[in-house]
Symmetry: C2
Subunit: 323 residues, 2 copies
C-alpha cells in the first residue's frame, strides 16, 4: 500500500503525534528507555494513528485529545506486537531482532505491560474516559475473536456466520476503534462518531478478507506466490468455506481430511486449486468489494476535503494488490 499519498493531509500532525508517542514510551528506568529508543528507531507504518488523525480531520479539527487517542492505540498496538513475538517465539520484527530475542521474554512482556499502563494513564490523566471505553471494548473483542478462531479451527464448526464474527472481532474491532476515537476527539455528535465507527468496521473486515485472499493468491508486491500459511495452521477462511459448501460432498470431505492431517506443500497446492475451482476466490473478492462499498457509504456525505479523499483512497488501496 502506498501510504505517502494517503498521509498527505496529516503529514505535520503525524510528526506531532510522534512527539506525544515518544514521551509516553519513556520512563525513569534506564533499561526501559534503551528499549523504547530501539523500538522508535524501527518506525512502524503508523496506520492506526493515521486512521485516528484522518477521521478527526474529516469530522472537525485535530486537537490535543486526538494525539492522546492516537498515542493510546499505537501504545496498545506496540505492546501487542511485542507480546505476540514472545508467544510466537519470533526472533525478528520489521527486519530487526525482536525485543524478546535481545532482552528475553520476561523483559519483553514487562515492556508491553508498561506501554499498556502508560496508554491507560494518558487517557485517565486527561479524563478521556470515552477513549478508554472504546479501546477496552476493542481489546476485549480482539481477544474474544482470536479465541473463537482457535476454538473453531480445533472443531469442525465453521460457517460464514462464525467466520464473520471472528474477523469482525479480531481485526475490524481495532480499526473501527481508531476511526471512532479520531471522530470522538473532534466531534461531540454521536451520529457522526457512529458513522466513522461503522466506516472502520467495514474497512477492517475488508482488510481481513484481503489478508485471507492473499494466503491463496500471494502478494504480488512480495513474491506473488501463495503462502498457504492459513491452510497449514488449520485456519478455515472465507475462500475455503465457500468452496467447501459449493463442491461435491466427496471432494469437500477429502479436502477437510487433508487440512486436518498436517498438510504437505503438495496438499496445500491441491487445496488452493480446489478453492479456485469452486469459486472461493471470486466470491471472497466480491464480498470484500461489498464491504468496501459499504465503508464508503458511511463517509460519502461529508463535504469534500483532503481527509475525505485520503480515507476513500485508503479503501481503494485495500484490494489493489489482490488478483
Amino acid at each position: 500500500m502506498n501510504l505517502s499519498e494517503i498521509i498527505q493531509p496529516i503529514k505535520k500532525e503525524l510528526l506531532e503525534f510522534e512527539k506525544t508517542f515518544k514521551k509516553e514510551m519513556l520512563s525513569k528506568v534506564k533499561l526501559l528507555n534503551i528499549i523504547a529508543h530501539y523500538i522508535l528507531k524501527q518506525k512502524g507504518k503508523r496506520i492506526r494513528p493515521t486512521l485516528v488523525l484522518l477521521s478527526a480531520k474529516l469530522v472537525g479539527d485535530i486537537n490535543e485529545t486526538t494525539y492522546h487517542a492516537a498515542a493510546l492505540v499505537e501504545l496498545l498496538h506496540t505492546a501487542t506486537l511485542i507480546h505476540d513475538d514472545v508467544v510466537d517465539e519470533s526472533n525478528m520484527r520489521r527486519g530487526f531482532p525482536s525485543i524478546n530475542a535481545i532482552w528475553g521474554n520476561k523483559v519483553a512482556v514487562l515492556i508491553g505491560d508498561f506501554f499498556l499502563a502508560q496508554g491507560l494513564l494518558l487517557s485517565l490523566k486527561h479524563k478521556e474516559y470515552k477513549f478508554l471505553h472504546i479501546t477496552s471494548e476493542a481489546v476485549k473483542r480482539m481477544s474474544e475473536g482470536e479465541l473463537l478462531e482457535i476454538q473453531s479451527s480445533r472443531g469442525n464448526d465453521f460457517d460464514e456466520e462464525t467466520y464473520f464474527r471472528i474477523i469482525s472481532d479480531k481485526t475490524a474491532s481495532l480499526i473501527s476503534a481508531c476511526c471512532e476515537l479520531g471522530a470522538a476527539s473532534a466531534s461531540e455528535d454521536d451520529f457522526i462518531i457512529e458513522k466513522l465507527k461503522f466506516f472502520g468496521e467495514n474497512l477492517g473486515i475488508a482488510f481481513q478478507l484481503r489478508d485471507d485472499l492473499l494466503d491463496y493468491l500471494g502478494d504480488s508486491a512480495i513474491t506473488g506466490k501463495p503462502t498457504g500459511a492459513d491452510i497449514k495452521e488449520g485456519k478455515i477462511t472465507l475462500p475455503l468455506i465457500y468452496a467447501l459448501k459449493n463442491s461435491p460432498r466427496k471432494e469437500s470431505r477429502h479436502v477437510m481430511k487433508i487440512i486436518k492431517n498436517n498438510p504437505t506443500n503438495k496438499d496445500i497446492y491441491y487445496v488452493i486449486d480446489f478453492v479456485k475451482n469452486y469459486g472461493g476466490i471470486d466470491y471472497t473478492l466480491k464480498i470484500a468489494e461489498e464491504y468496501l462499498d459499504k465503508a464508503k457509504q458511511f463517509i460519502i456525505d461529508f463535504a469534500e476535503s483532503p481527509a475525505k479523499e485520503s480515507l476513500l483512497k485508503l479503501t481503494d488501496f485495500v484490494l489493489e494488490r489482490v488478483s
Copy 2:
C-alpha cells in the same frame, strides 16, 4: 499464613465477591468459559480481594463498588499469573497444569488480555475512574520495578536505595493499591484513603522483605531449608546488600565473584553463611519489623472493629514463619 481467622469479618462478602468475579470472567466464547471454569476451580487465596474488603470495612461500609474494585484487582492478578506462566514456561500452577500447558501459549496470553479488558470495562461501565487510576498506576510501577530489578541484577549497582525502590514498585504498589481501592470504595475522605494507601505500601514492603529473607532462611512451614533461588538468579536482596557492605572488602569481592559465575549449591551455602555471619539476616528482620510498625501506625487511630483487628493480625502474620 492462616487466612481463615483474618477473613472472619468479611466471610459473607467474599462469597459475594466470588459472584462478581465469576460473572466478569465469562464470555460468549465457549473456549473462554471452559478455561474460566478451570481457573475458578483452583481457587486462589484471594489475598488481594481480602485486602480490598477489609480496607473498605475499616473505613466505612462495603458496597457494590467495593466488589467491582476487588474483581478488578483479582482479574488483573489472575491475568498476571497466566502471563507469568507463559514467560517462565511453567507447566504447573497451584498443583494443576497451567493454562499454557493445556491450551498453549497463544490461548494463555489471549485469556489474560481478555481478563484485563474485562476489569477495565467493569470500572468504566460504572464510571469508577478513580479505581482505574489507582490500578493503572500500580501496573505501571510493577513493570517498572521488575525492569529496574533486571537492569540492576545485570549491572553492579545495587545499594539499599535502589533495592527499596525496586520492592516498593514491584510488590508494594499492588498491595497498596488494594488497600487504597477498598478505602476509596467506602469513603470520600482523601485523608483516610491516603492512610490505607500508606498502610498497604508499608505492609507490601514488609511482605517482600519477608520473601527475600525466606530465600536465606527457608520457609519453616514448607521445608525449613533455604532455597537460595535469588542467589542463583543473581538477585541481590537486602540481606546480601547489608552483608556485602559490612564485610571486609576482600570477602565481599569474593562473594560477588561467586554470584556472578553461575554458583553451585556449595557456593550458595557459602553465600548464605556469609550473609548470616555479617548480620544481613538480623538487619533485614529489624527493617521488616520497622515497616510493619509503620504500617500499623496508619490504621491505629481507627475505632476498634473486627476489620481493624484482622488488618493488624495480618501484619503480625507477615514475619510469623521467619526466624
